[in-house]
Symmetry: C2
Subunit: 331 residues, 2 copies
DNA sequence: TTGTAGGCGTTATCAC
DNA sequence: GTGATAACGCCTACAA
């Protein structure tokens, strides 16, 4: 049990006024050392904790932020975990709100958060597609995580998928592969577009050309199976496959095995997202580009806190993605 | 922008006292119809919303609950989503706190939530192992989700893994398979133990015996590969494999394919957990027992709200798991 | 250095 | 039916 003792209780027990007690507890000047010491002792003994609700009411600041998940998806959770990790270390509480992808709910979710006097807003999406900024003007700082705001003046934290695409190709080249096939995800996904752009850039810089014409499809393994099958049926020679997601890589691996093509000896294979349940359980374990979701969360939280301190950031900032090297490219 | 207008503003604009305005807005008796109408009009025009912080301060009730994630894991998110879904529909805000598996953090997380006057507490774990109840006495109702409390008087919502184990075997029998192998997860996991118990019970009732001696191992696909390999090497005949997780089933599928055993024709295969990214992307798609995570979340939220309304529940309640039938047992 | 008073926005309890 | 007034717990003047 906690919080039962009020400031009044402490003041009375210490034989001083609430005003004095308040100052003493908060380390403000204008109190004698003797009083300060006594008040602190009593507070300790009474297990006194200031009531955040009352503090909020009088100050307008709540020491909490609102985390708004615009949609649902497995990528949101690690981001939110990063956010919480960073914030709870600083004593900031998180109010959660979720629109489950329903855009019409967005406004009322934000309003509910605002009504509880959150000091800042963190907008999380589960993909990296550019998103519209909040409809209305909000009176607190806002940071967007993963999906960047279309308004350049907003502060957004996301991952640099172009760079991720580049790193993937560079890795394949570094292990000596030069006949690289690329399996893309959905055309409507900015992640797919960016990763492809980066991959093609790096291919170009290295004087390489993909052995297939990269085509957009879906994020399902079935699509990847089709693509690899097509490659095999066409008799195309290839020694590396970069899939734009781990699920796609899982599908590719399936077809490769079925055709007696061994990974990584015959074909090196890698994915994107570095999604634990998959990359650690395929055979062999899958090399993948990490999205740095946890770091995005931490970074977003830090930028938000800075902004709440009056030091706002603007524009898009990128968490640095990393290559997670495993057996599927270990040769 | 919202919430700027206070009750005082409304009262002044309507030319009545705050007391009258309050009663009018809240539909309480003791106000003339004329006054009520006028006040409501003004409030509407001023876009008035009562300040939840002030309401909390005076009433001690905050209209919010604390959701505490004791640990981190992919099963927590769907549960939390279910909780939010149910609560937000009832205008209840969720304060989030996460101990990331650090038991020493637990108490201070709970205290932080309590300090913000949450009206109830929802404790979520990412596995079904029985967990100790909250250390200290808390002054609000508590509901445990997924991991049940060891105290029978507490209210816990989880999934009936014994029943899930039974259903899995029954399904295999229904599609005509009677030489069933079972691959278990970790011995330290109650889910593994319960699913095995259920499976053995049903085997018994049907007069069947597993073709292997079910052994506990790990939750990694590697373990499952070993088990299936051992089975094949031993020359054991089998026409069905039940894996205690989808990841394990993924490993099994891998080995079966490698050995030219087709699923489901030669061997029917199923998993547990019904985990989207896996079950929909294996080839063939994987039949699996759903853990009803979303329903657990909803149910837990509902029980908590009931308890906050003075109608507490006690003991363990089970969300009903369901068989998700897909191609891997479609024969 | 201290204590007192006013106010944050609401609700509830009184008199009127 | 209505309007003051006192809480809720805290903070920040200002007065002693």
């Amino acid at each position: 049990m906690l919080g039962r003792a009020s400031l009044t209780d402490v003041a009375r027990a210490a034989g001083v006024s609430v005003g004095a007690a308040s100052k003493a507890l908060r380390g403000k000047p204008g109190v004698s050392e003797a009083t300060r010491k006594k008040v602190n002792e009593i507070a300790e003994r009474l297990n006194y904790e200031p009531n955040p609700i009352a503090q909020t009411l009088v100050s307008g600041k709540s020491g909490s932020i609102g985390m708004f998940a615009a949609d649902q998806g497995s990528f949101s959770s690690p981001i939110m975990a990063g956010v919480q990790n960073e914030l709870s270390a600083n004593g900031v509480t998180v109010l959660l709100s979720n629109a489950f992808g329903d855009v019409r709910l967005e406004r009322q979710c934000i309003d509910a958060l605002l009504a509880r006097n959150v000091d800042g807003l963190l907008i999380v999406n589960h993909n990296t597609n550019i998103r519209p900024p909040l409809h209305e003007e909000v009176p607190v700082p806002v940071v967007y995580a993963y999906a960047a705001s279309s308004d350049e003046r907003d502060c957004s934290i996301t991952v640099d998928n172009v760079e991720a695409g580049r790193m993937a190709v560079r890795h394949m080249a570094e292990i000596g592969r030069d006949r690289i096939a690329i399996v893309c995800g959905e055309a409507s996904s900015k992640a797919a577009i960016d990763r492809l752009q980066g991959a093609m850039e790096m291919m170009d810089e290295l004087g390489l050309t993909p052995v297939n014409i990269p085509r957009f499809g879906t994020w399902m393994a079935e699509w990847s199976r089709q693509e690899i099958l097509r490659l095999i049926d066409a008799g195309t020679a290839f020694d590396a496959v970069i899939c734009q997601s781990d699920v796609l890589a899982m599908g590719a691996l399936d077809v490769l095995h079925t055709h007696g093509i061994s990974v990584p000896q015959d074909v090196a294979l890698m994915g994107h997202d570095d999604w634990g349940p998959i990359v650690l359980n395929t055979n062999p374990p899958l090399t993948s580009m990490s999205n740095a979701l946890d770091e995005i969360g931490r970074l977003a939280a830090r930028r938000l806190m800075d902004a709440m301190d009056g030091k706002p950031s603007h524009g898009v900032e990128y968490a640095s993605c990393a290559l997670m090297r495993r057996a599927s490219t270990d040769c």
